[in-house]
Amino acid sequence: MRDLKHLIYFEDLLQTANNELIQQAKADGGICAAFSCENVPEPLLNVGNAFSIRLFAPNTGSFDIASYYMTNLLCETSRALLERAVEGGFNFADCMIAPDGCTMMNRCVENMELLKTMGGDNEKFFWQYMEIPLKCDENNLELYKLQCINHILRPLNEAYGIDISDKSIRRAVGEHNRVCKLIRDIGEFRKGPQPRITGYEYHVLTLATYVCPKYLIMDKLEETLEELKTREPDDNRWRARVMVVGSEVDDSGLIKLIEESGAYVCADRFCFGSLPGRDLIPMTDKEDALTQICRKYMESCQCPRMMNMEKVYGRKKYVSEIAKEYGADGIIYEQVKFCDPWAYERMLGSTMLREDYGYPVLSVDRPYNIASSAGQMRTRVQAFVESIEIKKIKKGEAQ
């Protein structure tokens, strides 16, 4: 296919956490609200002149300092973020909001705080830790709202005078929904037998929506969507279509590696992916905006830490439905090395998707930066692709 016009632009944005658009937004008077987990309702960090930035650590090499503080047994994502923070890579942030979700990410942020890695001369800088729902019911919804008020909205208002009114929240949801709509519309082009966008390209675009101020990339996303409508797809060069499920994928190189191995990544159900991370938030005037946002986040949450059994079973059902909708031949359950929640979810999920739903499943752990283990992963994916092909052949013979 012909290269997307803005792909290199988006790829460049992902080369550093402190990208040029963050600097531009700050120069415009924006307040950067940094966060580290998809359980933080993103629109609430985009109220008034605040803008949300999800922390990530592109091009991570070693984790020496982070490994000293947290040992080499904590998940590589948390160590990569701490390492980058110690290096001063997140000094653009004006506050840090972290849910006490998974233990390792919580410890990562606590170390950032204790080591005074962020804030610098900004006296208004604050750290906030939220309790987030463990189940999906009205009690958890009430908790979610209270936590968002106490640990996001009120601190933003008190420190920076940011407008946290219902009207302001609705405006932020409007912007959020515009981005989500664009990303999901772009994602629709993954569905057909001849997709017009690769999984890698899609991942680059999606990741950019988390790590850049949204209003500054909207125009380029719109142009990309228009471009895709007329883009000539390749002849079918993919040997299999797979869905990737698991821990956050901050390194688009992983998706590229999978696709180089012959498997088209047709759906992304991982932390900070588009499913369900870029779901639109439906809004009505019957309820306050905060309640509606929290309900949407709680109900659509696919985080393995949600522990009621409806959610435990629901996560597998969701994967199956998405796989069906996007035409996946197989599922890759991946887990960033040492991530406990996804270690268990990967085990149970891969078993249930294989036995209860009949999908071929590849279950793997991986490093934060795939470059450090590319050969091993490539071998696993290639073998998986071949196994899917063999299954297809056998199925055809049987028929």
């Binding site: 000293y68 503080y69 947290m70 040992t71 047994l73 904590l74 998940c75 948390s78 006490d100 998974c102 233990t103 390792m104 919580n106 410890r107 990562c108 606590e110 170390n111 204790l114 830790y129 939220m130 309790e131 463990l134 189940k135 009690n139 958890n140 009430e142 908790l143 209270l146 936590q147 106490n150 393995p304 830490r305 522990m307 009621n308 059994m309 435990v312 887990q335 090395k337 040492f338 406990d340 929640p341 270690a343 268990y344 979810e345 990967r346 085990m347 149970l348 891969s350 078993t351 279950s363 752990d365």
Partner: protein
């Protein structure tokens, strides 16, 4: 560095065996029993007979014999007398009686749990009527939500299968860890929930009860393992499970209502499944016992803050696990044991009784213990004169809960149960932010006049590992000796017992330049021991 005055007993004379190394050879059990002088050997022998009588009464029942052949982990219980010997090594007088009083009762309590388990177990006793009256609960969960159900049995089935089994024999979990890993679970998660998942996968848990209540207990692994276990309980055995939540930021005011509301839901769930109504009289009776246990625990710790600590180490920790969490005021059998323990501790303190000729260092034990080597705390007193004043798992709730039945207290009771649930052992420190894990450690060092922290570094415990550097730097800044003792909780293949003890020994020799009090036990040939 911080220094504490060395405490020396000028009249030290240990009756009987002086060098404890003579007790060991390379076998599963000791070379011989310890000679403690006539009086203490006789006392120890009567307690041995008592333990044997518990085992005999247990094994004469046909369903328990059946269980012995059905469940692989049951064989570990042959080592019960040996476990007691590990914790009483070198002890005399009050300290010997304290260990026997506490741990003998733990043995009795576990035997009672197993009686209940096998009576209802579908694969052995299969008493269906009994089973309908049982609720399965987590091993690491406070059973506070059962305080108002006097006629319902809370069954902590993971206690005998995994937790106690690994205290008894070091290799008890290795098979189940292999099972879980063969099923696809990585080897780097905490081995305790991993082993429990392995037991579930192998179908080696007894199956009973009309329902189960699970809690997000100590860590992400524990929370996630519950999902795997519940999947089998619900889909294969038709036992509905309720997931009771305990907030992570448990010290924050803005999570308490949330937690209390879920306690109400758990109670409603149990009422629905068992058909039994919540009984406030029973609840407040239990609440009084919870408060009594809290007062006693504080009194023991007060004595441990003096130069003559009495109730210390693993027996304190294991007894507290059983009483504070597994019992949580529900049994009337515990308060007399608490009182007896306090009596012995006060007598020992009054007589300035010591376990070794000198106490060189006063240590707080922090982190999560190596389950198969927790008797190391007794060893280090005798070998190095390091006294384990208390441990992280024993520093739990200190608040009194409402114990009078009034309309206001009935509402308060939900908050109290939630508070207890949030403050179950271990998770009250592993969750709640760095203040409860790091900052409060230094406060405890002050309160208990400790100059040393034995830092269990359970290599798969992400909550503790995540603060490694902070402990290191803050301990150094305060002049407190931080002795890192790395292990893998319940997998001796990763760290043998001697490898664990060697870490303390090498610190004592190389950093503190000290020689052992009893060199005969510095290296123990117990790699093959139970």
């Amino acid at each position: 560095m911080k220094k504490v005055d060395k405490v020396v007993d000028p009249n030290w004379h240990r009756k009987g065996d002086q060098r404890l190394g003579v007790l060991f050879n390379d076998g599963k059990v000791r070379r011989r029993r310890e000679w403690r002088g006539v009086k203490d050997t006789f006392y120890d022998y009567t307690r041995w007979l008592y333990i044997m009588s518990i085992l005999a009464r247990f094994i004469v029942k046909p369903r328990n014999i059946k269980a012995m052949f059905r469940y692989r982990w049951m064989a570990n219980y042959l080592a019960v007398p040996h476990m007691l010997d590990k914790f009483t090594m070198g002890l005399r007088d009050e300290s010997l009686r304290i260990v026997h009083t506490s741990l003998d009762f733990v043995v009795y309590d576990v035997a009672q749990t197993m009686e209940k388990v096998f009576r209802g177990d579908r694969k052995t006793g299969n008493d269906e009527e009994w089973s309908r009256n049982c609720v399965l609960t987590d091993e690491n969960a406070m059973t506070a939500f059962m305080m108002g159900f006097p006629d319902v049995n809370a069954i902590l089935r993971e206690v005998p299968t995994m937790f106690v089994a690994n205290l008894l024999t070091q290799n008890s979990t290795t098979h189940y860890l292999d099972v879980a890993q063969e099923f696809g679970l990585p080897g780097d998660v905490c081995p305790m929930p991993e082993a429990e998942v392995g037991i579930s996968i192998e179908d080696d848990f007894p199956v009973l009860g009309c329902c189960a209540v699970q809690v997000n207990t100590t860590c992400d692994g524990s929370l996630m393992g519950n999902g795997v276990i519940a999947n089998r309980l619900e889909r294969e055995y038709g036992i509905p499970t309720f997931q009771l939540l305990a907030p992570m930021r448990h010290r924050e005011d803005d999570v308490q209502t949330y937690a209390a509301n879920d306690i109400k839901k758990a109670i409603a769930f149990i009422e629905e499944k068992t058909g039994k109504k919540w009984n406030w009289d029973a609840y407040f009776e239990c609440a009084k016992r919870v408060n009594d246990a809290t007062r006693k625990r504080q009194a023991w710790l007060d004595i441990n803050a003096t130069p003559y600590p009495q109730f210390v180490g693993a027996p304190f920790s294991l007894y507290n696990d059983t009483n504070y969490m597994g019992n949580c005021g529900r049994s009337a059998l515990f308060p007399p044991v608490d009182a007896k323990l306090l009596k012995y501790a006060e007598e020992g303190y009054a007589a300035k009784r010591m376990m070794a000729p000198e106490y060189r260092h006063r240590a707080i034990i922090w982190g999560v213990q190596p389950q198969y080597c927790i008797d190391m705390l007794n060893w280090m007193v005798h070998c190095w004169g390091v006294v384990p004043l208390t441990d992280m798992l024993s520093l739990v709730n200190t608040k009194m809960i409402a114990e009078d039945d009034t309309p206001e207290n009935r509402e308060q009771a939900y908050y109290d149960m939630a508070w207890l649930n949030e403050n179950m052992i271990m998770r009250n420190r592993t969750h709640g932010g760095y203040k409860v894990l790091v900052d409060e450690l230094w406060e405890f060092c002050e309160q208990l006049h400790a100059d040393m922290v034995i830092m269990w570094e359970h290599m798969s415990c992400k909550a503790l590992d995540g603060m490694h550097g902070q402990f290191e730097e803050q301990g150094r800044a305060r002049g407190i000796h931080i002795v890192w003792v790395c292990h893998d909780l319940c997998d001796p293949r990763v760290y043998t017992k001697q490898a664990i003890r060697d870490q303390l020994s090498s610190y004592m020799r190389t950093v503190l330049r000290e020689e052992p009090l009893d060199p005969s036990i510095e290296v123990l040939p117990d790699d093959n021991a139970w």
